[in-house]
Protein backbone atom coordinates (compact mmCIF):
# COMPACT_ATOMS: atom_id res chain seq x y z
CA UNK A 1 0.00 0.00 0.00
CA UNK A 2 1.44 3.30 -1.01
CA UNK A 3 -0.63 5.44 1.32
CA UNK A 4 -1.00 4.81 4.98
CA UNK A 5 -4.54 4.88 6.33
CA UNK A 6 -5.52 7.87 8.41
CA UNK A 7 -6.28 7.82 12.09
CA UNK A 8 -10.00 8.09 11.35
CA UNK A 9 -9.84 5.02 9.15
CA UNK A 10 -7.85 3.19 11.76
CA UNK A 11 -10.22 3.94 14.62
CA UNK A 12 -13.30 3.19 12.53
CA UNK A 13 -11.90 -0.07 11.26
CA UNK A 14 -10.83 -0.86 14.79
CA UNK A 15 -14.33 -0.39 16.12
CA UNK A 16 -15.79 -2.55 13.37
CA UNK A 17 -13.19 -5.15 14.23
CA UNK A 18 -14.27 -5.04 17.85
CA UNK A 19 -17.80 -5.88 16.71
CA UNK A 20 -16.43 -8.85 14.78
CA UNK A 21 -14.38 -10.02 17.75
CA UNK A 22 -17.48 -9.84 19.95
CA UNK A 23 -19.19 -12.07 17.41
CA UNK A 24 -16.39 -14.60 17.78
CA UNK A 25 -16.62 -14.32 21.54
CA UNK A 26 -20.27 -15.31 21.30
CA UNK A 27 -19.13 -18.53 19.72
CA UNK A 28 -17.37 -19.51 22.88
CA UNK A 29 -19.68 -18.00 25.49
CA UNK A 30 -21.09 -20.97 27.34
CA UNK A 31 -23.85 -19.31 29.32
CA UNK A 32 -26.87 -17.84 27.59
CA UNK A 33 -26.81 -14.83 29.90
CA UNK A 34 -23.25 -13.99 28.88
CA UNK A 35 -24.27 -14.23 25.24
CA UNK A 36 -26.99 -11.68 25.82
CA UNK A 37 -24.53 -9.39 27.57
CA UNK A 38 -22.06 -9.79 24.71
CA UNK A 39 -24.84 -8.78 22.33
CA UNK A 40 -25.54 -5.69 24.43
CA UNK A 41 -21.84 -4.84 24.34
CA UNK A 42 -21.73 -5.36 20.61
CA UNK A 43 -24.69 -3.05 20.08
CA UNK A 44 -22.93 -0.50 22.25
CA UNK A 45 -19.86 -0.64 20.02
CA UNK A 46 -22.04 -0.25 16.91
CA UNK A 47 -23.71 2.77 18.48
CA UNK A 48 -20.27 4.14 19.29
CA UNK A 49 -19.22 3.66 15.68
CA UNK A 50 -22.33 5.50 14.50
CA UNK A 51 -21.54 8.38 16.86
CA UNK A 52 -17.94 8.45 15.64
CA UNK A 53 -19.04 8.64 12.02
CA UNK A 54 -21.63 11.28 12.86
CA UNK A 55 -19.10 13.43 14.68
CA UNK A 56 -16.30 13.10 12.16
CA UNK A 57 -18.30 13.37 8.98
CA UNK A 58 -20.93 15.79 10.27
CA UNK A 59 -23.96 13.66 9.43
CA UNK A 60 -26.44 14.92 11.98
CA UNK A 61 -29.13 12.37 11.30
CA UNK A 62 -26.88 9.68 12.63
CA UNK A 63 -27.08 11.15 16.13
CA UNK A 64 -30.79 10.41 16.27
CA UNK A 65 -30.18 6.97 14.86
CA UNK A 66 -27.46 6.30 17.41
CA UNK A 67 -29.71 7.34 20.27
CA UNK A 68 -32.55 5.13 19.06
CA UNK A 69 -30.35 2.14 18.47
CA UNK A 70 -28.79 2.59 21.88
CA UNK A 71 -32.20 2.55 23.47
CA UNK A 72 -33.47 -0.37 21.46
CA UNK A 73 -30.52 -2.67 21.02
CA UNK A 74 -28.58 -2.08 24.19
CA UNK A 75 -31.45 -1.67 26.64
CA UNK A 76 -34.73 -3.06 25.39
CA UNK A 77 -33.78 -6.18 23.47
CA UNK A 78 -31.32 -7.62 26.00
CA UNK A 79 -33.69 -6.94 28.88
CA UNK A 80 -36.52 -8.68 27.04
CA UNK A 81 -34.42 -11.74 26.47
CA UNK A 82 -33.00 -11.74 29.98
CA UNK A 83 -36.54 -11.66 31.29
CA UNK A 84 -37.41 -14.63 29.13
CA UNK A 85 -34.40 -16.48 30.52
CA UNK A 86 -35.46 -15.66 34.04
CA UNK A 87 -38.98 -16.88 33.41
CA UNK A 88 -37.77 -19.99 31.68
CA UNK A 89 -35.52 -20.87 34.58
CA UNK A 90 -34.56 -24.21 33.02
CA UNK A 91 -31.61 -24.21 30.64
CA UNK A 92 -29.02 -21.57 31.26
CA UNK A 93 -26.13 -23.02 29.33
CA UNK A 94 -26.19 -23.00 25.58
CA UNK A 95 -25.28 -26.00 23.55
CA UNK A 96 -22.94 -26.31 20.64
CA UNK A 97 -22.64 -29.02 18.04
CA UNK A 98 -18.85 -28.88 17.73
CA UNK A 99 -16.18 -27.84 20.23
CA UNK A 100 -15.21 -24.21 20.67
CA UNK A 101 -11.84 -24.38 18.94
CA UNK A 102 -13.37 -26.06 15.89
CA UNK A 103 -16.18 -23.52 15.87
CA UNK A 104 -13.66 -20.69 15.88
CA UNK A 105 -11.75 -22.25 13.00
CA UNK A 106 -14.89 -22.80 10.94
CA UNK A 107 -16.02 -19.25 11.60
CA UNK A 108 -12.57 -18.00 10.64
CA UNK A 109 -12.66 -19.75 7.26
CA UNK A 110 -16.15 -18.37 6.62
CA UNK A 111 -15.08 -14.87 7.65
CA UNK A 112 -12.06 -15.05 5.36
CA UNK A 113 -14.38 -15.99 2.50
CA UNK A 114 -16.54 -12.96 3.29
CA UNK A 115 -13.50 -10.72 3.41
CA UNK A 116 -12.32 -11.73 0.00
CA UNK A 117 -15.79 -11.66 -1.54
CA UNK A 118 -16.31 -8.08 -0.50
CA UNK A 119 -12.73 -7.05 -1.07
CA UNK A 120 -13.10 -7.91 -4.72
CA UNK A 121 -15.85 -5.32 -5.06
CA UNK A 122 -13.52 -2.33 -4.69
CA UNK A 123 -15.99 -0.30 -2.76
CA UNK A 124 -14.76 3.21 -2.04
CA UNK A 125 -16.91 5.00 0.43
CA UNK A 126 -16.49 8.39 1.97
CA UNK A 127 -17.86 7.46 5.35
CA UNK A 128 -15.89 4.39 6.36
CA UNK A 129 -12.94 2.50 4.98
CA UNK A 130 -13.41 -0.53 2.76
CA UNK A 131 -12.23 -2.86 5.47
CA UNK A 132 -15.32 -1.97 7.50
CA UNK A 133 -17.60 -3.32 4.77
CA UNK A 134 -15.57 -6.50 4.59
CA UNK A 135 -15.74 -6.78 8.37
CA UNK A 136 -19.51 -6.27 8.22
CA UNK A 137 -19.82 -9.10 5.72
CA UNK A 138 -17.68 -11.27 7.97
CA UNK A 139 -19.92 -10.45 10.94
CA UNK A 140 -22.97 -11.54 8.98
CA UNK A 141 -21.34 -14.81 7.96
CA UNK A 142 -20.05 -15.60 11.45
CA UNK A 143 -23.54 -14.92 12.81
CA UNK A 144 -24.76 -17.57 10.39
CA UNK A 145 -22.18 -20.01 11.71
CA UNK A 146 -23.32 -19.22 15.24
CA UNK A 147 -26.94 -19.97 14.36
CA UNK A 148 -26.09 -23.18 12.58
CA UNK A 149 -23.84 -24.54 15.31
CA UNK A 150 -26.13 -23.77 18.23
CA UNK A 151 -29.11 -25.81 19.19
CA UNK A 152 -31.15 -23.66 21.51
CA UNK A 153 -33.60 -20.92 20.66
CA UNK A 154 -31.95 -18.13 22.62
CA UNK A 155 -28.53 -18.59 20.99
CA UNK A 156 -30.17 -18.68 17.59
CA UNK A 157 -32.16 -15.54 18.32
CA UNK A 158 -29.03 -13.74 19.58
CA UNK A 159 -27.26 -14.89 16.43
CA UNK A 160 -30.00 -13.30 14.35
CA UNK A 161 -29.82 -10.02 16.27
CA UNK A 162 -26.07 -9.86 15.92
CA UNK A 163 -26.53 -10.42 12.19
CA UNK A 164 -28.65 -7.27 12.20
CA UNK A 165 -25.75 -5.53 13.94
CA UNK A 166 -23.49 -6.59 11.10
CA UNK A 167 -25.93 -5.18 8.55
CA UNK A 168 -26.02 -1.95 10.60
CA UNK A 169 -22.24 -1.65 10.32
CA UNK A 170 -22.54 -2.21 6.57
CA UNK A 171 -25.19 0.48 6.30
CA UNK A 172 -22.91 2.88 8.17
CA UNK A 173 -20.23 2.24 5.59
CA UNK A 174 -22.19 2.55 2.40
CA UNK A 175 -25.47 4.17 3.25
CA UNK A 176 -24.83 6.72 5.95
CA UNK A 177 -26.93 9.15 3.99
CA UNK A 178 -29.93 6.85 4.00
CA UNK A 179 -32.99 8.91 4.85
CA UNK A 180 -33.62 8.96 8.56
CA UNK A 181 -37.20 7.81 8.17
CA UNK A 182 -35.98 4.64 6.53
CA UNK A 183 -33.49 3.95 9.30
CA UNK A 184 -36.17 4.43 11.90
CA UNK A 185 -38.45 2.09 9.98
CA UNK A 186 -35.73 -0.55 10.07
CA UNK A 187 -35.26 -0.15 13.81
CA UNK A 188 -38.97 -0.31 14.47
CA UNK A 189 -39.15 -3.44 12.42
CA UNK A 190 -36.40 -4.95 14.51
CA UNK A 191 -38.40 -4.22 17.62
CA UNK A 192 -41.47 -5.92 16.21
CA UNK A 193 -39.36 -8.89 15.16
CA UNK A 194 -37.98 -9.12 18.69
CA UNK A 195 -41.46 -9.16 20.13
CA UNK A 196 -42.52 -11.93 17.79
CA UNK A 197 -39.39 -13.90 18.54
CA UNK A 198 -40.16 -13.56 22.21
CA UNK A 199 -43.72 -14.74 21.78
CA UNK A 200 -42.71 -17.80 19.84
CA UNK A 201 -39.90 -18.61 22.24
CA UNK A 202 -42.34 -18.49 25.10
CA UNK A 203 -44.78 -20.69 23.23
CA UNK A 204 -42.02 -23.19 22.61
CA UNK A 205 -40.93 -23.10 26.21
CA UNK A 206 -44.49 -23.43 27.46
CA UNK A 207 -45.03 -26.54 25.40
CA UNK A 208 -41.74 -28.32 25.85
CA UNK A 209 -40.36 -26.92 29.12
CA UNK A 210 -37.02 -26.48 27.42
CA UNK A 211 -35.30 -23.92 25.27
CA UNK A 212 -33.43 -26.50 23.27
CA UNK A 213 -34.13 -27.19 19.63
CA UNK A 214 -32.60 -30.65 19.66
CA UNK A 215 -36.00 -32.33 19.45
CA UNK A 216 -37.08 -30.20 16.52
CA UNK A 217 -37.07 -33.20 14.28
CA UNK A 218 -40.72 -34.09 14.25
CA UNK A 219 -41.31 -32.51 10.88
CA UNK A 220 -39.17 -34.24 8.33
CA UNK A 221 -39.16 -35.10 4.68
Amino acid sequence: MSSLPTTYDGVAAGLSLLVLLTEFAMLRAPLLRSQVRLYAFQSLVVTGLALYVAASKHVDELYVLAALSLLLKVVVVPSLILRLLRDADTDLAGSSVVGTASAILIALVVAAFGFFAVGSLHVNSSSLPTSSLAIACAIVLVAFVLIILRSDVVSQAIGFFSLENGVSVASLVVASGLPLIVDIAFLFDLLVAVVVFGVIMRVHHARNATLSTSDFDRLKG
Partner: protein, 321 residues
Protein backbone atom coordinates in the same frame (compact mmCIF):
# COMPACT_ATOMS: atom_id res chain seq x y z
CA UNK B 1 32.35 9.78 26.23
CA UNK B 2 31.04 11.27 23.03
CA UNK B 3 34.28 10.59 21.32
CA UNK B 4 33.88 6.91 21.82
CA UNK B 5 32.01 5.31 18.99
CA UNK B 6 31.48 1.62 19.07
CA UNK B 7 31.89 -0.26 15.84
CA UNK B 8 28.89 -2.13 14.52
CA UNK B 9 30.46 -5.47 15.37
CA UNK B 10 31.05 -4.23 18.85
CA UNK B 11 27.44 -3.15 19.13
CA UNK B 12 26.37 -6.56 17.97
CA UNK B 13 28.54 -8.20 20.62
CA UNK B 14 27.08 -5.88 23.22
CA UNK B 15 23.61 -6.94 22.05
CA UNK B 16 24.35 -10.58 22.74
CA UNK B 17 25.97 -9.74 26.06
CA UNK B 18 22.97 -7.65 27.08
CA UNK B 19 20.62 -10.52 26.49
CA UNK B 20 23.00 -12.97 28.10
CA UNK B 21 23.60 -10.98 31.23
CA UNK B 22 20.39 -9.05 31.52
CA UNK B 23 17.96 -11.93 31.14
CA UNK B 24 18.23 -13.36 34.67
CA UNK B 25 17.80 -9.84 36.03
CA UNK B 26 14.47 -9.47 34.27
CA UNK B 27 13.40 -12.91 35.39
CA UNK B 28 14.35 -12.17 38.97
CA UNK B 29 12.48 -8.90 38.88
CA UNK B 30 9.33 -10.65 37.70
CA UNK B 31 9.47 -13.25 40.46
CA UNK B 32 10.08 -10.56 43.04
CA UNK B 33 7.14 -8.48 41.87
CA UNK B 34 4.90 -11.52 41.75
CA UNK B 35 5.77 -12.29 45.32
CA UNK B 36 5.10 -8.72 46.39
CA UNK B 37 1.70 -8.73 44.66
CA UNK B 38 0.82 -11.85 46.56
CA UNK B 39 1.65 -10.20 49.85
CA UNK B 40 4.98 -11.96 50.38
CA UNK B 41 8.43 -10.40 50.51
CA UNK B 42 9.41 -12.15 47.32
CA UNK B 43 12.78 -13.60 46.35
CA UNK B 44 15.84 -11.36 45.80
CA UNK B 45 15.97 -9.73 42.41
CA UNK B 46 19.44 -11.17 41.80
CA UNK B 47 18.40 -14.65 42.89
CA UNK B 48 18.56 -16.24 39.40
CA UNK B 49 22.25 -15.30 39.14
CA UNK B 50 23.01 -17.05 42.39
CA UNK B 51 21.03 -20.09 41.25
CA UNK B 52 22.92 -20.34 37.98
CA UNK B 53 26.32 -19.93 39.64
CA UNK B 54 25.42 -22.51 42.25
CA UNK B 55 24.30 -25.00 39.60
CA UNK B 56 27.56 -24.66 37.68
CA UNK B 57 29.40 -26.05 40.65
CA UNK B 58 27.16 -29.08 41.10
CA UNK B 59 27.71 -32.46 39.51
CA UNK B 60 25.77 -33.80 36.56
CA UNK B 61 23.74 -36.96 36.98
CA UNK B 62 22.64 -38.82 33.90
CA UNK B 63 20.29 -41.79 33.70
CA UNK B 64 21.58 -45.02 32.28
CA UNK B 65 19.27 -45.04 29.30
CA UNK B 66 19.98 -41.62 27.89
CA UNK B 67 22.53 -40.90 25.20
CA UNK B 68 24.47 -37.88 23.92
CA UNK B 69 21.18 -36.21 22.96
CA UNK B 70 20.46 -35.69 26.63
CA UNK B 71 23.73 -33.82 27.02
CA UNK B 72 23.55 -31.95 23.72
CA UNK B 73 20.03 -30.60 24.08
CA UNK B 74 20.70 -27.80 26.56
CA UNK B 75 23.85 -26.79 24.71
CA UNK B 76 22.05 -26.56 21.35
CA UNK B 77 19.26 -24.53 22.93
CA UNK B 78 21.69 -22.17 24.59
CA UNK B 79 23.56 -21.52 21.38
CA UNK B 80 20.30 -20.79 19.59
CA UNK B 81 19.45 -18.27 22.26
CA UNK B 82 22.83 -16.67 21.76
CA UNK B 83 22.29 -16.41 18.01
CA UNK B 84 18.82 -14.91 17.90
CA UNK B 85 19.84 -11.55 19.42
CA UNK B 86 22.02 -11.06 16.38
CA UNK B 87 18.97 -10.98 14.16
CA UNK B 88 16.46 -8.84 15.99
CA UNK B 89 16.56 -5.15 16.87
CA UNK B 90 17.71 -5.24 20.43
CA UNK B 91 19.65 -2.07 20.82
CA UNK B 92 19.77 -0.24 17.55
CA UNK B 93 17.51 1.16 14.92
CA UNK B 94 19.81 0.34 12.08
CA UNK B 95 20.51 -3.20 10.96
CA UNK B 96 23.80 -4.57 12.15
CA UNK B 97 26.15 -6.57 9.92
CA UNK B 98 25.24 -10.05 11.02
CA UNK B 99 21.63 -9.03 11.22
CA UNK B 100 21.14 -9.80 7.55
CA UNK B 101 22.08 -13.42 7.99
CA UNK B 102 18.53 -14.22 8.96
CA UNK B 103 15.20 -12.51 8.90
CA UNK B 104 12.38 -12.81 11.37
CA UNK B 105 11.45 -16.21 9.99
CA UNK B 106 14.98 -17.33 10.70
CA UNK B 107 14.66 -16.02 14.23
CA UNK B 108 11.43 -17.90 14.68
CA UNK B 109 13.05 -21.04 13.34
CA UNK B 110 15.92 -20.79 15.78
CA UNK B 111 13.56 -20.36 18.72
CA UNK B 112 11.59 -23.37 17.60
CA UNK B 113 14.80 -25.37 17.25
CA UNK B 114 15.76 -24.47 20.77
CA UNK B 115 12.43 -25.58 22.14
CA UNK B 116 12.59 -28.76 20.15
CA UNK B 117 16.03 -29.74 21.39
CA UNK B 118 15.11 -29.15 25.01
CA UNK B 119 11.97 -31.21 24.63
CA UNK B 120 13.89 -33.94 22.84
CA UNK B 121 16.48 -34.18 25.55
CA UNK B 122 13.77 -34.25 28.17
CA UNK B 123 11.88 -37.02 26.43
CA UNK B 124 15.10 -38.92 25.87
CA UNK B 125 15.84 -39.14 29.53
CA UNK B 126 13.12 -41.65 30.15
CA UNK B 127 11.73 -39.96 33.20
CA UNK B 128 7.93 -39.90 33.16
CA UNK B 129 7.50 -36.25 34.11
CA UNK B 130 10.05 -35.10 31.61
CA UNK B 131 8.36 -37.04 28.87
CA UNK B 132 4.99 -35.66 29.91
CA UNK B 133 6.30 -32.13 29.80
CA UNK B 134 8.07 -32.70 26.50
CA UNK B 135 5.02 -34.09 24.74
CA UNK B 136 2.76 -31.36 26.05
CA UNK B 137 5.25 -28.68 25.11
CA UNK B 138 5.53 -30.02 21.58
CA UNK B 139 1.76 -30.28 21.17
CA UNK B 140 1.10 -26.75 22.22
CA UNK B 141 4.17 -25.59 20.38
CA UNK B 142 2.79 -27.07 17.19
CA UNK B 143 -0.51 -25.33 17.74
CA UNK B 144 1.08 -21.98 18.37
CA UNK B 145 3.31 -22.16 15.29
CA UNK B 146 0.56 -21.13 12.82
CA UNK B 147 -0.16 -18.11 14.97
CA UNK B 148 3.49 -17.09 14.93
CA UNK B 149 3.54 -17.55 11.18
CA UNK B 150 0.53 -15.33 10.66
CA UNK B 151 1.95 -12.68 12.94
CA UNK B 152 5.10 -12.77 10.84
CA UNK B 153 2.97 -12.47 7.70
CA UNK B 154 1.21 -9.48 9.16
CA UNK B 155 4.51 -7.82 9.94
CA UNK B 156 5.83 -8.63 6.50
CA UNK B 157 2.72 -7.29 4.77
CA UNK B 158 2.77 -4.02 6.60
CA UNK B 159 6.39 -3.32 5.85
CA UNK B 160 6.89 -5.27 2.62
CA UNK B 161 9.90 -6.89 4.14
CA UNK B 162 10.79 -9.65 6.51
CA UNK B 163 13.28 -7.64 8.47
CA UNK B 164 12.05 -6.70 11.89
CA UNK B 165 14.08 -3.51 11.74
CA UNK B 166 11.83 -2.09 9.09
CA UNK B 167 8.67 -2.50 11.13
CA UNK B 168 10.06 -0.64 14.09
CA UNK B 169 11.08 2.13 11.72
CA UNK B 170 7.53 2.32 10.40
CA UNK B 171 6.10 2.50 13.89
CA UNK B 172 8.48 5.22 14.87
CA UNK B 173 7.56 7.24 11.84
CA UNK B 174 4.09 8.11 13.03
CA UNK B 175 2.07 7.28 16.10
CA UNK B 176 -1.09 6.84 14.08
CA UNK B 177 0.46 3.62 12.92
CA UNK B 178 -0.19 2.21 16.33
CA UNK B 179 -3.92 2.40 15.90
CA UNK B 180 -3.95 0.53 12.64
CA UNK B 181 -6.24 -2.41 13.29
CA UNK B 182 -3.97 -4.96 11.72
CA UNK B 183 -1.07 -3.72 13.81
CA UNK B 184 -3.09 -3.81 17.00
CA UNK B 185 -4.33 -7.30 16.22
CA UNK B 186 -0.88 -8.55 15.38
CA UNK B 187 0.49 -7.04 18.58
CA UNK B 188 -2.20 -8.63 20.73
CA UNK B 189 -1.74 -11.95 18.96
CA UNK B 190 1.99 -11.83 19.57
CA UNK B 191 1.38 -10.88 23.19
CA UNK B 192 -0.65 -14.05 23.56
CA UNK B 193 2.09 -16.02 21.79
CA UNK B 194 4.63 -14.73 24.26
CA UNK B 195 2.31 -15.69 27.06
CA UNK B 196 2.12 -19.24 25.79
CA UNK B 197 5.79 -19.55 24.91
CA UNK B 198 7.10 -18.27 28.22
CA UNK B 199 4.64 -20.44 30.05
CA UNK B 200 2.67 -17.92 32.07
CA UNK B 201 -0.89 -17.96 33.39
CA UNK B 202 -3.37 -18.88 31.94
CA UNK B 203 -1.28 -21.53 30.25
CA UNK B 204 1.00 -22.57 33.07
CA UNK B 205 1.89 -21.45 36.55
CA UNK B 206 5.40 -20.86 37.81
CA UNK B 207 4.68 -21.02 41.46
CA UNK B 208 4.08 -24.73 41.87
CA UNK B 209 4.97 -28.04 40.29
CA UNK B 210 1.62 -29.63 39.67
CA UNK B 211 1.92 -32.45 37.20
CA UNK B 212 -1.60 -31.77 36.00
CA UNK B 213 -0.54 -28.53 34.48
CA UNK B 214 3.21 -28.57 34.03
CA UNK B 215 4.43 -28.04 30.55
CA UNK B 216 7.74 -26.21 30.32
CA UNK B 217 8.76 -26.81 33.90
CA UNK B 218 8.51 -30.54 33.50
CA UNK B 219 10.87 -30.83 30.58
CA UNK B 220 13.86 -29.93 32.64
CA UNK B 221 13.18 -32.14 35.65
CA UNK B 222 15.79 -34.77 34.80
CA UNK B 223 18.71 -32.41 34.14
CA UNK B 224 21.20 -31.38 36.81
CA UNK B 225 24.39 -29.45 37.35
CA UNK B 226 25.81 -27.21 34.60
CA UNK B 227 23.30 -28.51 32.06
CA UNK B 228 20.45 -27.42 34.26
CA UNK B 229 22.18 -24.06 34.68
CA UNK B 230 22.31 -23.69 30.90
CA UNK B 231 18.65 -24.62 30.68
CA UNK B 232 17.56 -22.12 33.29
CA UNK B 233 19.72 -19.42 31.80
CA UNK B 234 18.42 -20.26 28.34
CA UNK B 235 14.81 -20.00 29.40
CA UNK B 236 15.37 -16.56 30.90
CA UNK B 237 17.12 -15.54 27.69
CA UNK B 238 14.21 -16.83 25.64
CA UNK B 239 11.88 -14.77 27.76
CA UNK B 240 13.94 -11.62 27.25
CA UNK B 241 14.24 -12.26 23.52
CA UNK B 242 10.47 -12.61 23.14
CA UNK B 243 9.94 -9.49 25.21
CA UNK B 244 12.43 -7.68 23.03
CA UNK B 245 10.62 -8.63 19.87
CA UNK B 246 7.32 -7.59 21.41
CA UNK B 247 8.68 -4.24 22.54
CA UNK B 248 11.00 -3.30 19.74
CA UNK B 249 8.93 -4.55 16.86
CA UNK B 250 5.37 -3.94 17.99
CA UNK B 251 4.85 -1.82 21.01
CA UNK B 252 7.42 0.77 21.93
CA UNK B 253 10.47 0.93 19.73
CA UNK B 254 11.79 4.13 21.21
CA UNK B 255 15.00 4.60 23.08
CA UNK B 256 17.02 2.58 20.62
CA UNK B 257 20.43 3.84 19.63
CA UNK B 258 20.44 5.41 16.20
CA UNK B 259 24.16 5.82 16.06
CA UNK B 260 27.12 3.84 17.32
CA UNK B 261 28.01 6.31 20.03
CA UNK B 262 28.80 4.64 23.30
CA UNK B 263 26.48 6.87 25.30
CA UNK B 264 23.51 6.04 23.13
CA UNK B 265 24.38 2.34 23.24
CA UNK B 266 24.52 2.36 27.00
CA UNK B 267 21.28 4.27 27.07
CA UNK B 268 19.74 1.69 24.77
CA UNK B 269 20.80 -1.15 27.04
CA UNK B 270 19.24 0.55 30.01
CA UNK B 271 16.08 1.39 28.08
CA UNK B 272 15.67 -2.19 26.92
CA UNK B 273 16.01 -3.64 30.38
CA UNK B 274 13.61 -1.15 31.87
CA UNK B 275 11.04 -1.78 29.16
CA UNK B 276 11.42 -5.52 29.58
CA UNK B 277 10.81 -5.19 33.27
CA UNK B 278 7.65 -3.19 32.61
CA UNK B 279 6.37 -5.91 30.30
CA UNK B 280 7.29 -8.46 32.93
CA UNK B 281 5.31 -6.45 35.43
CA UNK B 282 2.27 -6.67 33.16
CA UNK B 283 2.67 -10.41 32.95
CA UNK B 284 2.99 -10.66 36.70
CA UNK B 285 -0.20 -8.71 37.18
CA UNK B 286 -1.99 -10.97 34.72
CA UNK B 287 -0.60 -13.92 36.64
CA UNK B 288 -2.31 -12.75 39.77
CA UNK B 289 -5.58 -11.78 38.13
CA UNK B 290 -6.49 -14.90 36.24
CA UNK B 291 -6.49 -18.57 37.02
CA UNK B 292 -4.85 -21.24 35.00
CA UNK B 293 -6.86 -22.87 32.25
CA UNK B 294 -7.43 -26.57 32.20
CA UNK B 295 -5.21 -28.27 29.67
CA UNK B 296 -7.86 -28.98 27.10
CA UNK B 297 -9.04 -25.39 27.25
CA UNK B 298 -5.61 -24.22 26.20
CA UNK B 299 -6.45 -25.15 22.64
CA UNK B 300 -9.32 -22.65 22.80
CA UNK B 301 -6.90 -20.03 24.01
CA UNK B 302 -4.46 -20.74 21.22
CA UNK B 303 -7.33 -20.75 18.72
CA UNK B 304 -8.23 -17.24 19.89
CA UNK B 305 -4.65 -16.09 19.38
CA UNK B 306 -4.68 -17.70 15.93
CA UNK B 307 -7.94 -15.93 15.20
CA UNK B 308 -6.44 -12.55 16.01
CA UNK B 309 -3.39 -13.22 13.88
CA UNK B 310 -5.43 -14.32 10.87
CA UNK B 311 -7.78 -11.37 11.22
CA UNK B 312 -4.77 -9.07 11.28
CA UNK B 313 -3.64 -10.40 7.91
CA UNK B 314 -7.14 -10.33 6.46
CA UNK B 315 -7.89 -6.81 7.58
CA UNK B 316 -4.66 -5.66 6.06
CA UNK B 317 -5.37 -7.36 2.77
CA UNK B 318 -8.82 -5.95 2.39
CA UNK B 319 -8.57 -2.42 3.57
CA UNK B 320 -4.95 -1.57 3.82
CA UNK B 321 -5.69 -1.27 7.51
Amino acid sequence: MDLLVVSPYGVQAIQVLTVLLGAPLVSGFISHVEGRLQGRRGPRILQPYYDIIKLFSKETLVTNDSSWVFLAGPIVAFSCFLTVPLLIPVLTTFPLPLGFSGDILGGGFLLALAGFSVALSGAESGGPYAQLGASRAMTFGALIEPTILFVIFAVALITHTDLPYALSATIRSSTSQMVRPSHVLAAVAFFLVVLVDTGRVPVETHSGTLEFGMIDEARTLEHSGPLLALLKWGSTMKQLILYTILINVFLAPWGLASTGKLSSVVLAVGALLVKAMVVGLVFAVIDNMFSKLRLFKITEFIASAFLLAVLSVLVFYVGGG
